[in-house]
């Protein structure tokens, strides 16, 4: 029981950090980024390559930095132009980016699975109420909490975080107040992509690395965003935790339905709250 709940927490934490990047970008650009899962996957592969040579910590740093750079380029080249376009156009374009990145990964790293061992310091198990539990999974929860907490504190209390919130609501008002809104876009999309990349490398020793890992988790990340209410961090948090538990208990209790459960949950929430848990109407 407890172990199931813990596993749900681990998965939920990962989902939340990944979804936070999605929410951040949507908040500013109103672009639903289908490439977000591919960024997660790219983070896992880049992190894996660097980690096998220079160690896990270097892999994490590399995934974060490389994906931040990818995000900045994505915003300057694409997202800036997509802001305010019809949703269908943004979906098609970002889906195209997803396909391109998946192909890039296939041609650079091949189609096979890769495995990454947790770093020695985090390898092993601890006993939790008598049951063994991998230390690395606890690390996932801690790392996710640190990232999510850092992001929340920055948005809430940071000077630049204030600018981001203002620009997300009305960029022209923020600019009128002296905020360089042209710089906010690349920064936010870079940060969102870095979150995707970091969750990719952090997930790598827990899940496995393969070219469709991005699309797989992207679907769940969307379910989180929709259940949470598009653009809401608090909603995404609740939804990610909920979905983590549903996944974890679902695979044990209702294995034949497990793959469907997230969508049933989404349908259930949407029937009662079409705008999502924390969303506002419209």
């Amino acid at each position: 029981m407890l172990i199931n709940a813990l596993n749900g927490l681990v998965y939920g934490s990962l989902l939340f950090v990944l979804s936070a990047g999605l929410v951040l970008v949507y908040g500013l650009r109103r672009v639903v980024n289908f490439a977000h899962g591919a960024l997660y996957m790219l983070g896992a592969y880049i992190g894996w390559s660097v980690a096998t040579l220079y160690g896990f910590a270097a892999g994490v740093v590399a995934a974060g930095v490389a994906l931040a750079a990818v995000g900045v380029v994505l915003d300057l080249v694409l997202f800036r132009r997509l802001a305010g376009r019809q949703p269908l156009i943004t979906v098609i374009v970002t889906f195209g980016v997803l396909l391109i990145l998946e192909d890039v990964v296939r041609s650079v790293w091949g189609t096979g699975n890769r495995a990454l061992d947790p770093p020695a310091a985090l390898d092993g198990v601890v006993e939790i109420f008598g049951a063994p539990f991998p230390v690395y999974r606890l690390f996932i929860v801690a790392a996710s909490a640190a990232m999510a907490g850092g992001l929340a504190a920055w948005l809430r209390w940071g000077r630049t975080g204030l600018f981001v919130r203002a620009a997300s609501h009305d960029a022209s008002v923020a600019a009128m107040c002296g905020v360089r809104t042209a710089a906010i876009g690349p920064m936010v999309v870079g940060l969102g992509a870095a979150f995707a990349g970091l969750s990719g490398i952090v997930a790598a020793p827990f899940l496995s690395i393969h070219p469709s890992m991005g699309s797989e988790i992207l679907v769940l990340s969307f379910v989180v965003s929709v259940i949470g209410g598009l653009g809401s961090f608090a909603g995404a948090f609740v939804a990610a935790m909920l979905l983590g538990q549903v996944q974890s208990f679902g695979t044990v209790l209702l294995p034949e339905l497990a793959a469907l459960l997230p969508f049933l949950l989404m349908a259930g929430v949407l029937i009662f709250r079409p705008q999502g848990i924390a969303g506002t109407k419209g």
Partner: protein, 232 residues
């Protein structure tokens, strides 16, 4: 003397819709100018051109004699031009204090700090942690003015500040604006409320068909002449 802000034959459009066809307007340091005109004539578009939300497609804008070629959204703020926009544009997802701090983004030096703004509008201090949109219309206008002051501007542009306010609040607004003018900040006042205009402005310009059709000193025109040049 060099004008603080000078528009010369400025043309501007939204998409394909051309709104301004050559606007000439100059404001000297510390001067108080009213920009008048009928509904929908393009007064706000003049402001939007400075804020780069309308596209300038001709003419010249100079600030302290220097030509501004590339206008971005934050350019006006960096040049010391603060706007109290029509409809106030208080950000509902920020607290009152955060709305004010936002405009301290550039850290321009000057007398206006958070404390100074709270000194001028004590109600904002009292309610500083509530969302800006929880305020009444008049209080929101104070917040919008406070936010503009946080930029420590040399020119304060107010776009229909009396819109939607009760008459007693408009009187209060007049007092506040006169006190502000006395501090030496130049004011460009866009207003339909002619009594308020008369209280504040030394000069006026009337916008019509995308250009300035009449202009002069406030003291040299009576209310009826002013009305008819607006309606013209």
């Amino acid at each position: 003397m060099t004008a603080l802000l000078e528009l010369e034959r400025v043309e501007a459009r939204y998409g394909a819709a051309r709104i301004l066809n050559g606007v000439d307007l100059a404001i000297a340091p510390g001067e108080r100018v009213a920009l008048l005109g009928r509904n929908g004539v393009g007064k706000t578009t003049v402001v939007n051109t400075l804020l780069a939300t309308a596209v300038k497609c001709g003419g010249e804008i100079r600030v302290r004699g220097e030509r501004i070629d590339r206008l971005a959204g934050h350019t006006a703020a960096t040049l010391g031009i603060a706007v109290v926009p029509q409809g106030r544009k208080i950000l509902p997802n920020l607290s009152i204090q955060e709305n004010l701090k936002l405009a301290a983004a550039l850290r321009r030096k000057g007398p206006w700090t958070l404390d100074a703004v709270y000194g001028l509008f004590p109600i904002l201090r009292e309610r500083r942690h509530t969302p800006g949109t929880a305020l009444s219309g008049g209080q929101q206008q104070m917040l919008a003015i406070g936010r503009a002051l946080m930029l420590n501007p040399e020119l304060l542009i107010l776009d229909e500040p009396s819109e939607g306010l009760a008459p007693v609040i408009v009187d209060e607004l007049g007092v506040i604006l006169r006190d502000l003018a006395a501090t030496g900040v130049a004011i460009l006042l866009i207003e339909q409320h002619l009594r308020l205009v008369r209280d504040i402005a030394e000069r006026y310009a009337v916008l019509s068909k995308g250009a300035v059709s009449a202009a002069g000193r406030m003291a040299e025109v009576d209310q009826e002449q002013l009305q008819s040049s607006i309606m013209h």
